[in-house]
Symmetry: C2
Subunit: 770 residues, 2 copies
């Protein structure tokens, strides 16, 4: 059995106990650090998957049920609760509507920009095909691409680096309960939307679907708070929802709405949010999430139908549509299922390769490409290279296909083909990736020759791998689907050619679908929600079982080598991500071994100076403090009687809620929940609050503001049990007590997140200083 | 604000303290009773929705992490956990396979039996139409129906009353955490399957879908335990899963597999299970549930395709198939949505009416029809009346429709129609309800005249209402869909006739679908899962938004009048059902007011006699006992140090694990978890365990067997907070402690379930004695 030794010892913290007038012991809270790192380690450890960063705060999903809160709830009538419930529905409707609208804008903008680009390039190529000098076309294409990409990269790199990438890792973290800085700001949304339009129009191997999820989440965070801090506008509505619990619920709805708009998959969106975020199943919440998703896909569909001049045609519910898989009488045969599973395994392998390559690339980028200028240049380089490679592939390909009467190609390139024919390689490269996926799924058998597909798979694989992680806003879903569809179709064609009766494998499009699922599953390793998303996007439930088996196989095979792409990126950011369950072999760890100790506690009535000192201690930066009743005639730790948060203390200090002042200024307005809500979520730092020397000697009565019933566990509780409680209730702080109810430690997210199953059994990560 | 006074005082319990040698205070546990009921109330209060029955035990979703358990977990290697995980998948696959197989058997049996019946009656009618004497046909039909129904009713009434009805209320309760006696037994399954075949073949206004959910759950409970107590066969496999936590997880999977097989809706099945059961979202569990669902629908589909001689045709994934709703370019228009919402409201009203009528009927049945013979006779009566009414409707109808070339009717009755025509009323009445639903959805416009539909709606409404609650095994889904489809189609026809340009409402089938959703939603009030089930059954995601809006409206309107049908029946059984959240206005209640007190506690080392006495006390029948360390030199309550269950104590007593014996018989085998698992789930009653007078003087050491880290809350905790903890972790007992960690009370399911929001704010239900 795996064994583990605490590699670090706790600092004694004697230096911080200060003047000695603080009765209870100091220390221990969400942020804890180890002596070993205090002494000698490099100050800045920016990205390391072996460390847990302390720069991330947690969201507090547990309500602080202090007296103010309870009084408010008790004052509220049944009707009041009904109104709140109705507001929640209205907000979710709004979230869905706005997310759908954004998706619609992105789609129209990309269609038009890419349309203009391909039209210009096509004209140019046609002009030069006859007379020679196609290198000019190449340069034109490359420059156009690079220009688009440059704009997209500049706004991301210089204005809002948080908008880079697909945003799914960040949203995963947020739903998991980690506050990623700047992730749900309005500015991020604007940059994200513009960025994704540029990068897709710039011809990068990217999709516009991932960013939709992020966009939905930002919309939700904005709408639900009824104000924008960026715009300095407070609509004075939805004030009740200004706390982590409610906000996170709405962000789940926003993410779901994003998925729904991206793939036309409302149920998939709900399951995505549940899979990533909601640990506690709340029926009404799920129902609202579903509502937001439905509205979102409907809005997108409705406006697109108007844009396409077919109002009321609700047949394009998402940004990507796989098109209709006509279910023949026999969709697939039982004996094909093993083949599908083999494809799943292949997808897992290729996905793992993709992830490993991307991991190395990301490490390289972190070390050497961290200046914005370099990032923009790399992005432009990738844009130009993508155009060059595509051009070369098209140029050297001699796979000519006849132009059918019901031609689905938007920009058929004739190039060197005979009249009435078009270059088949161009359908894959000279097109937005969404359209290429659809062509691979639905073009009739024989539209592609195997060589075209192999070359395409190979080049696109490396291009996509290089592209993911660039400082542009872009998703990895569509490139993955495209790679998979290409090799899946190739597999189908080969199968038909090597079997005696090729006709039974007639439809290579089916294999393209399975390949796409396998490749995507191998890269992102989502399971339940991805199955449903794929099924909804194909609009054919018959493929549910094979898709599920394929995704499952891809996940098992892929997990053997390396984690999913999003998890890799989360780990590289050293985010304290909590998985759904404690590691299997962790039953022998108890709360005593896991917790941070000793803990900084406050008394019910505490000296202002003490509080200010503790909060100002930048080396600890704790966020939650147990409130204790000292045990009479004993130097021991006090009995826990509450828990108070840094943010609450800050508001109390700001409003100078001191016992002495309360006596002298009896007419003073009592502090209300509204004051806490107004300060949410950007509580001022302690440094901005001035406390005079006289005030330092005042006392603060925390009784009314602390949470009087924090969840506690005895110190013998096993890690899985602590984990379950922590995860199920979305806690931020869990007080560990002894049999006398005295505080002995505090369990926070980092204490739990640092245990994981490695190659050699249970491993413990260290905590970074930043 | 609502106010509430404790209407009952606690009994002093002085009579039960017995000899006085028990140190801690006695009393209080899962089962508590009130003095007022002790004195004078009738002994047997069989069914009352104002009471909570105490005859139901709770499932324990929280693991008892005692030393034995922890030792086992710690001994287990990582590989061991992997194997367990694989077994779970295998079991889920088996559950899906067997559930699909059962669904297949039911379908084939019903098709054949009903086919024979309709063939015979049709022949007979045709014979007598010309010559007169159709009353003989009527008698034949009525007798055939009554005969089938009699068989179905007899096996249910005399062999296994638990198999009556759809089984959905029982499964809802089980997933909610209430152990309904005999609900997951093999015998129940057999009776259920035979019963549903008889009642559907007997022409009752019932469906075979609800019972599938129950069947799936029984299969799951059986397979996962690796043994059958009824058959006295232990396969010695899956022993690890012999506890409430694991079993309940598998039952969720079984219920989902049942839904999946019934409606061809694997995702709907997953959501059903989640909506009803899993309070804690567990990703791996959900994924396994999905797997079981997929396998189930695939199995059904596969075997049905073989039966229908079209092997590999995977187009009938469920017992009921709504058929393909061909999405024209415009499925519905934006301006139709208000109409759909009006239909939703109508569905809510009609559903409420249905439920109220059925409620009165059920009350009547409880009072007057509780003898099995009477029950069988009532069922036969309903069978005969159904045939008679159907016959009368067909006889007096003169709605003749031409027999088309692509005739979808299986048994077209010509009756008095001209040659080449058939009686349209007969398509609705002279058919299995599944086929009637499909006809209403898909028959071309003009197949029914409005009068036929109105009469059909009216009669079928009352027939279905009378039928639900009979002592036969049958579901209410299909009748509800049928009623709704009939009036929905009627609505569509009327709409087309009153508007100037009728052609835009061309398809009455669309309105039939919306009406079906509205009626079903109005009766059962399921929301999320029902939307997904309907969408999956129609195979067209475009209808998602209208179906959701309709179900939502139906629920809101219906809830205004009366609860859903299943909830009514659950309440009539006085089941302590826990809803997902505490009532909104309950913040002013604290654990102190909610808990049961005083509590029967044990010492770590307790006298056997004391334990036997407490367990034998039939008037209390407690199930969980806090274990305490007495506070030195004080008569006060002890500090909590563990929690032990009745079932554990029973096993300990049975194996005579006494301190004295352990000393004398050192070689004795140590008690293992296996001993507890072998006794699960039917622990012997305390009366069957003989303890001699000498043994009564022995001591038992509970340290090793108790759960040393039970969840506790301080007594000031608000009810919603207690509720959340209880529900999120699936607890059975929650110990309430004071600031010194001394036991002051115990919160159990009944303490929480008795608060509900009534017309006048928060109301408190009383606890029944039985």
């Amino acid at each position: 059995m795996a064994n583990i030794t605490k590699k670090v010892s706790w600092s004694s913290r004697g230096d911080e106990s200060g003047g000695g007038e603080r009765t209870p012991l100091l220390n221990g809270s969400e942020e804890v650090r180890y002596t070993r790192q205090d002494a000698g380690c490099p100050k800045e450890i920016p990205h390391n998957e072996k460390l847990l960063s302390l720069k991330y705060e947690s969201l507090d999903y547990d309500n602080s049920e202090n007296q103010l809160f309870l009084e408010e709830e008790r004052r509220m009538s049944f009707l009041g609760f009904k109104c709140l419930e109705i507001s929640r529905w209205v907000i979710c409707g709004l979230i869905g509507f706005l997310t759908g609208l954004i998706a619609c804008c992105i789609d129209i903008a990309v269609e038009n920009l890419a349309g203009v680009k391909y039209f210009v390039v096509k004209q140019n190529i046609e002009k030069f095909t006859e007379v020679g000098g196609l290198s000019i076309s190449l340069i034109l294409w490359a420059v156009l691409n690079a220009a688009f990409v440059m704009v997209g990269a500049i706004i991301v790199a210089f204005f809002e680096p948080g908008a880079a990438g697909s945003g799914i890792p960040q949203i995963k973290c947020y739903l998991n309960g980690v506050k990623i800085p700047r992730v749900v700001r309005l500015k991020t949304l604007v940059v994200k939307v513009c960025g994704v339009i540029c990068s897709v129009a710039g011809g990068l191997a990217v999709g516009k679907e991932g960013p939709m999820i992020h966009s939905g989440a930002v919309v939700a965070a904005g709408v639900s708070q009824g104000r924008s801090t960026s715009l300095k506008k407070d609509f004075k509505i939805f004030e009740y929802f200004r706390r982590d619990t409610e906000k996170r619920d709405f962000v789940s709805a926003g993410a779901a709405a994003g998925v729904s708009a991206a793939f036309g998959a409302p149920v998939g969106g709900v399951l995505f949010s549940l899979e990533e975020g909601a640990s506690f199943w709340n029926q009404m919440l799920t129902w609202r999430i579903f509502f937001a998703s439905m509205i979102s896909t409907f809005t997108l569909n409705f406006f697109l139908s108007i844009y396409n001049k077919k109002p009321g045609d609700l047949s394009s519910p998402g940004l990507i549509n796989f098109g209709r898989f006509e279910s023949d009488s026999v969709a697939y045969n039982l004996y094909e299922i093993p083949l599908f599973i083999v494809m799943g395994a292949a997808g897992g392998l290729l996905g793992a390769l993709f992830n490993i390559l991307n991991y190395w690339l990301t490490i390289f980028r972190i070390r050497y490409v961290h200046r914005p200028c370099l990032q923009v240049m790399e992005a432009m380089l990738v844009g130009a290279v993508t155009a060059t490679v595509s051009f070369a592939m098209i140029y050297f390909s001699n796979d000519c296909q006849p132009l059918g009467p019901d031609q689905s190609e938007d920009y058929p390139l004739q190039l060197f083909c005979a009249d009435g024919e078009y270059n088949s390689m161009a359908t894959a490269f000279f097109n937005t990736p969404e359209r290429s996926v659809r062509s691979l799924f639905h073009n009739p058998p024989g539209s592609y020759n195997p060589l075209t597909l192999s070359l395409f798979t190979l080049t696109y694989f490396f291009l996509a791998c290089w592209t993911y992680g660039l400082t542009v806003s872009a998703g990895v879903f569509i490139p993955s689907l495209l790679i998979g569809a290409a090799w899946g179709r190739l597999f189908g064609i080969l199968l038909a050619s090597i079997t005696p009766d090729g006709s039974i494998w007639a439809d290579p499009g089916k294999y393209a679908l399975i390949g796409a699922a396998a490749q995507l599953g191998g890269i992102v390793r989502m399971t339940l929600s991805l199955t449903v998303i794929m099924v909804e996007a194909t609009g054919n439930v018959t493929y549910g079982l094979p898709i599920m088996l394929v995704l499952l196989t891809a996940k098992i095979v892929g997990d053997y080598f390396v984690e999913g792409l999003y998890d890799i990126h989360i780990k590289l950011q050293s985010v304290p991500f909590l998985h759904l369950e404690a590691p299997a072999t962790s039953h022998w760890l108890t709360a005593r071994e896991v917790m941070s100790a000793p803990v900084t506690c406050f008394n019910r009535i505490e000296k202002v100076g003490t509080i200010v000192d503790v909060l100002s201690n930048t080396s600890t930066n704790h966020n939650g403090f147990p409130v204790v009743v000292p045990v009479a005639a004993s130097d021991d730790m006090g009995k826990v009687c509450g828990l108070i948060l840094r943010s609450q203390l800050i508001v109390l200090l700001k409003h100078k809620v001191f016992v002495e002042l309360a006596r002298s200024r009896l007419t003073q307005r009592k502090l209300q929940l509204k004051d806490f809500r107004d300060a949410y979520p950007r509580f001022p730092p302690i440094q901005s609050i001035h406390v005079s020397q006289d005030e330092r000697e005042c006392m603060m009565d925390l009784t009314e503001f602390m949470n009087p019933t924090p969840y506690t566990v005895p110190q013998e509780t096993s890690l899985p049990r602590v984990f379950k409680l922590f995860r199920a209730l979305g806690l931020r702080h869990l007080v560990v007590v002894d049999s006398e109810n005295r505080v002995v430690g505090l369990v926070t997210r980092k204490d739990l997140a640092r245990y994981h199953l490695g190659k050699h059994g249970l491993e413990e990560m260290q905590l970074a200083q930043t």
